[in-house]
């Protein structure tokens, strides 16, 4: 914490000037935070207790309706299976690949790192379109692999992988590269002396990677995991856009967020939708804050 303390002036006046300066500098962000961050959430929480047609307060009716939806348990299972698979892939893949790259000569590492990084450019609707091709043995570059496994068409490929794995693969391809670059940067920051010392002590490359380097990027990996977790439980675009491939692949109620979307936009029940999203937000906040305050990742103090 850098504390600014300019000398030679009346402390009261200084503090007042400080306050105005803080307000002026924070104003644009605070306006946006209020308008797009706080107000909508407060509004949504309010909605969740209302009947949104006649605008009467009806307590927990919306929550009851949502919790009784038979799809909810399934959607929760789907999302958590997906998040578990995806996070495992992310942690193992990113840690493993970053450490391997760090042991390589710079030039080679940089070429490989770039190739890992680039798929991150494929996002939102383009990612689903790409994957609909990648999963179709008739056109896929992985077609030979699928055929070797006896999977003749996209439907079989999707049903053998299962949706959680398909979405985990999509998300891994898109998001892991950026983190490999980030962790790679952090690894480069480890001082040469530390690594050298370990080497002198007789540690081999593998031991240096797992016992010296890994612990030093552990925080970054954990932060990556939190952000990915918060993102993952809100997944929406990928399952929603699977319908681009037609009714056979359409899963409009696959994830929790999709259910919230469906209530609002298919049934016109914005109260139920708000109830579902409020609960989802609650879970995300609870888990993130637990981790944040438990481990002081954000160094809030």
């Amino acid at each position: 914490m850098t504390q600014i303390s300019a000398p030679n002036s009346d402390p009261k006046k200084r503090r007042r000037q400080d306050r105005w300066f803080i307000i002026a500098m924070m104003a644009p962000y605070l306006a946006l935070l209020g308008f797009f961050g706080i107000a909508p959430v407060v509004y949504a929480i309010g909605l969740s207790f209302m009947d949104t047609i006649d605008w009467v307060f009806w307590g927990f009716t919306n929550y009851e309706f949502v919790l009784n939806d038979f799809r909810l348990i399934e959607a929760i299972q789907n999302v958590f299976t997906y998040v578990a698979i995806w996070l495992t892939m992310m942690v193992v893949g990113i840690a493993g690949l970053s450490l391997m790259l760090d042991a390589l000569p710079d030039r080679t590492a940089s070429v490989l790192r770039t190739s890992f990084f680039l798929p991150g450019a494929i996002t939102s609707s383009a990612i689903v379109i790409l994957w609909l091709f990648l999963l179709d043995p008739a056109v896929s570059p992985y077609g030979a692999l699928f055929e070797a496994l006896g999977w003749e068409n996209r439907r079989q490929v999707v049903s053998h992988f299962g949706y959680p794995v398909v979405f985990a693969l999509m998300a891994y391809l898109a998001y892991s590269g950026g983190w490999i670059v980030v962790i790679g940067g952090a690894l480069k920051g480890i001082s040469k002396e530390v690594v050298e010392a370990a080497h002198v002590d007789g540690a081999n490359q593998f031991q240096i990677a797992t016992r010296v380097k890994l612990p030093m990027v552990w925080r970054s990996l954990a932060l990556m995991a939190i952000l990915s977790f918060a993102n993952g439980i809100q997944m929406f675009v990928e399952p929603q856009l699977m319908s681009l491939a037609g009714s056979t692949y359409s899963r409009p109620d696959w994830s929790v967020n999709q259910l919230a979307f469906q209530y609002a936009f298919n049934l016109g029940d914005f109260g139920a939708s708000a109830a579902m999203s409020t609960m989802l937000l609650g879970v995300a906040i609870f888990i993130s804050l637990c981790v944040v305050f438990g481990t002081r990742f954000y160094k809030m103090d």
Binding site: M1, Q3, I4, A6, P7, Q17, F21, I22, M25, P28, Y29, L30, L33, F36, G37, P40, Y43, G96, L97, M100, L101, L112, F116, L118, I122, T123, S125, A126, L130, L132, F133, L134, A138, V139, S140, L173, G178, V182, A186, K188, G189, M216, V217, R219, L227, F236, L241, L244, A245, S247, N257, A264, F270, S273, A274, M276, S277, L280, L281, K299
Partner: protein
């Protein structure tokens, strides 16, 4: 791990073999999709299926595909690309204007609401889109900002992750004595920010701009909610509309318009091309900047 203090050469060679094998497989996994996508742009629908996945098509095929794409609704996809550019440039610029001073203040001043603002920023980062979709829609409606460039730009300028990045950066990268020294030298509060902090913020600006660009360019949900007029669609929304209304990838009812798989591929490339270029240009900033702060913390 009794694997000996002195590693036998055989073990080491095996180790390196495994490393290269893993990296090789990873390379295939990561590079294949993009390579395939770029090559597929040069093929028409029949050759997409009849020839091998990496076979080369012909330029005329791309030309035909491009023609089909550009004649769709009088080159509407060009309009969408332009819209996307406007939304993104506007959103990125405005988000920088909001993010940099806020991050600076949060990192250098101690005031009553500081912690609250930081926590709210974190909460905003993880708020599901579906929570805020309808409220934001109605608020924008109240201000007449739906279906407008300005509305989209303001909405996407809210970028809490950027504030977090800026906060971490300023908290850890500004040398402790520097600000005090500047103040003693008679610099005003604002000059400390504009003349001391900002010139040191190049990597931060690159980083925030990078992530903000990425978030804006690929924004789907907000655009879906706020934009109902097709002449205002952004590329990701347009792409989804193009594909779903033409049934190009679907196994449902087809339509007469000549938007098929090759057109979907080329349109997808159009969506990702700017990001791809940005990625190539900005890798070093991402590598240098993101979490240097978090690591030290």
């Amino acid at each position: 791990m009794a694997a000996a203090q002195k590693t036998p050469p055989l073990n080491a060679r095996l180790g390196w073999f495994i490393v290269w094998l893993c990296l090789g497989l990873a390379f295939v996994f990561y590079a294949t999709p993009i390579l395939w996508l770029l090559l597929a742009a040069f093929r028409d629908e029949p050759t997409l299926f009849s020839s091998g996945p990496f076979s080369l098509g012909r330029f005329e095929m791309l030309a035909q595909t491009w023609h089909n794409l550009t004649t769709y609704n009088d080159f509407q996809i060009g309009r969408w690309a332009l819209n996307s550019a406007i939304y993104t440039i506007g959103g990125v610029s405005l988000s920088l204007v909001a993010v940099l001073p806020a991050g600076f203040i949060l990192a250098t001043y101690d005031f009553a609401l500081r912690k609250t603002i930081l926590v709210l920023t974190l909460v905003a980062m993880i708020t599901p889109n579906t929570v805020v979709a309808l409220p934001i829609f109605l608020q924008m409606q109240a201000f007449g900002l739906n279906n407008s460039y300005l509305g989209m730009i303001i909405a996407t300028a809210f970028f809490p992750f950027g504030v977090y990045l800026a906060y971490i950066y300023y908290a850890t990268s500004l040398p402790n004595g520097l600000i005090d020294a500047a103040r003693i030298d008679g610099a005003s509060r604002f000059e400390v920010f504009s003349k001391v902090a900002l010139p040191l913020s190049k990597p931060l600006i690159a980083l925030v701009a990078f992530f903000s660009f990425l978030a804006n360019w690929s924004n789907y949900f907000l655009a879906f909610v706020l934009l109902t007029k097709d002449e205002l669609y952004s590329l990701p929304i347009g792409l989804a509309v193009l594909v779903s209304s033409s049934g190009a990838l679907g196994n449902d009812v087809a339509s007469d318009i000549p938007i098929n798989k090759p057109e979907a591929i080329v349109a997808a490339i159009l969506v990702i091309a700017p990001v791809l270029l940005l990625f190539l240009a900005s890798q070093k900033y991402v590598r240098a900047g993101t979490l240097s702060g978090a690591e030290k913390g």
